[in-house]
């Protein structure tokens, strides 16, 4: 036990556009056990109150920062002691849960303005420094739409799937086939998006889902392991994520982990959208609305539901040839929607 060293838990980075955060409340007290992924504290940021999760199992030894303190990213917040397997949590008596996790944080125009400015700065740096290239392809969605209609038959509203979930799953599976799209650019010397650096493929596929905030600004929290999750699970995850974004309650891993962003302007919007890459990611996939259009099949013109898929990607990491392969893979996957459903555990 004495050989296990105490480790510091740091203020996490919650996206390239965040430099500091205010510790809002502790959710665990000294002596309590934490398992990987459990929430240790709440941090107030421009993106709302973030539930901060721990990366390792351990016991909280000491809190180093008082609630209400604003600290830069990387500042030690607490000390955690690793715990041997099987060890139990100390019973903690008389400690009231800090904060009220169900409460929505107060909305403020000032917070919205800060988030809008942070989004603007990150997007401006991305456009200035990342050599984007752009591709688009029109995809016949009739198989996907028909499959969805029959899959949804008899399902209650709580279980119903939306077309967007098929698009997300296809985007995630295609990223496995063309790993340069699911990569990050590691700039040398800490300069954000700078040319000196190297591309690193990400391995797991955590899809960032761009969500517009009604007060202005944009967040793109991650749906973890989107390639390996079933459609029902993804739909549930997307609904839960959207609901928490609206309440201003995201989790630290969701803000930090996205490896590839998908932006979709929904079923009321435009036909195509070209995204701006969110550094350090290396690509952003766009889906317009699904709309009916004349489409040639075997020499005849028929009316089909079409979606335009786009890719904006970093030319330092991939090129138009590989990007084209990626969009082709999305198209192919959407022609066999029943296989999207089956592709759950092909890790």
């Amino acid at each position: 036990m004495g050989a296990l060293s105490v480790r510091e838990f740091l203020m996490p980075t919650l996206g390239a556009d965040m430099e500091s955060g205010t510790l809002a409340a502790w959710r665990k007290q000294p002596g309590e056990m934490l398992h990987r992924g459990e929430i240790i504290a709440e941090v107030d940021t421009d993106k709302g109150v973030i539930d901060v999760e721990v990366f390792h199992d351990g016991r909280l030894v000491e809190q180093l920062v008082e609630p209400g303190t604003k600290v830069p990213v990387g500042t030690p917040l607490a000390r955690l002691e690793p715990v041997a397997a099987g060890e139990q949590s100390l019973p903690v008596r008389g400690v009231a849960a800090a904060g009220t996790p169900e409460e929505r944080p107060p909305e403020s125009a000032e917070r919205n303005e800060r988030l809008r400015r942070a989004t603007a700065a990150a997007m401006a740096a991305s456009k200035r420094k990342i050599p984007h290239y752009y591709l688009a392809t029109s995809i016949d969605m009739h198989s996907a739409v028909d499959w969805l209609a029959s899959a949804n038959e008899g399902r209650s509203i709580e279980q119903r799937l939306l077309p967007g979930v098929l698009l997300l799953k296809a985007a995630a599976l295609a990223a496995r086939e063309v790993p340069e799209i699911n990569a990050r650019w590691e700039a040398a010397g800490g300069e954000q998006c700078g040319d000196g650096g190297r591309a690193v493929t990400s391995g797991r596929v955590h899809l960032g889902v761009a969500i517009h905030l009604k007060g202005g600004g944009l967040v793109a929290p991650a749906l973890h392991d989107a390639d390996r999750r079933g459609l029902d699970d993804l739909m549930q995850g997307l609904r839960d994520l959207t609901e928490r974004v609206r309440r201003g309650r995201m989790r630290s891993s969701e803000l930090a982990d996205a490896t590839l962003t998908v932006t979709s302007l929904g079923d009321r919007g435009v036909e195509r959208v070209y995204g701006v890459i969110r550094p350090p990611q290396a690509a952003v996939v766009g889906f317009g609305k699904i709309f009916e259009r004349p489409w040639a099949v075997d020499g005849r013109v028929v009316v089909r539901p079409i979606v335009v898929a786009t890719l904006a990607a970093d030319h330092r990491v991939s090129d138009g040839h590989r990007g084209g392969r990626y969009l082709e893979a999305i198209d192919r996957l959407l022609q066999n929607p029943q296989r999207l459903e089956q592709a759950e555990d092909r890790a």
């Binding site: 209609a149 509203i157 119903r160 969500i211 517009h212 609904r239 959207t242 309440r247 929904g266 009321r268």
Partner: protein, 101 residues
């Protein structure tokens, strides 16, 4: 049965509610998917999705909240009826679907 998470709103048969009560309950559910908006100020016939800037997931979450709160089933062919307050209230009163004019 999934528990109703609506807390302060007591669950009642919508057909036993006055129009004003049902309207207030629907607005409260809308406020959860669009916390910044003031649904009570909406026109009964205006397009909720446009006025409150709801995306397709917000709208789905709203329909699920209606389903849980009022205990009503929402068939796929009826989902378009909920895009106005008037449409929501008509559905909750059990009025048959009238085809769009």
């Amino acid at each position: 049965m999934t528990p109703d998470r609506s807390g302060e709103l007591a669950r009642r048969d919508p057909r036993a509610m006055s129009i004003a009560e049902a309207r207030a309950a629907v607005c409260e559910l809308l406020r959860r998917v669009a916390p910044e908006a003031d649904p009570a100020s909406l026109d009964d016939t205006s397009d909720l999705r446009r006025e409150l800037d709801l995306d397709s997931i917000d709208y789905q979450n709203f329909l699920i909240a209606l389903h849980r709160h009022f205990g009503v089933e929402i068939p796929q062919r009826e989902v378009g009826r909920f895009s106005t307050l008037e449409g929501c209230l008509a559905f909750l009163r059990g009025e048959p679907h009238s085809p769009p004019r």
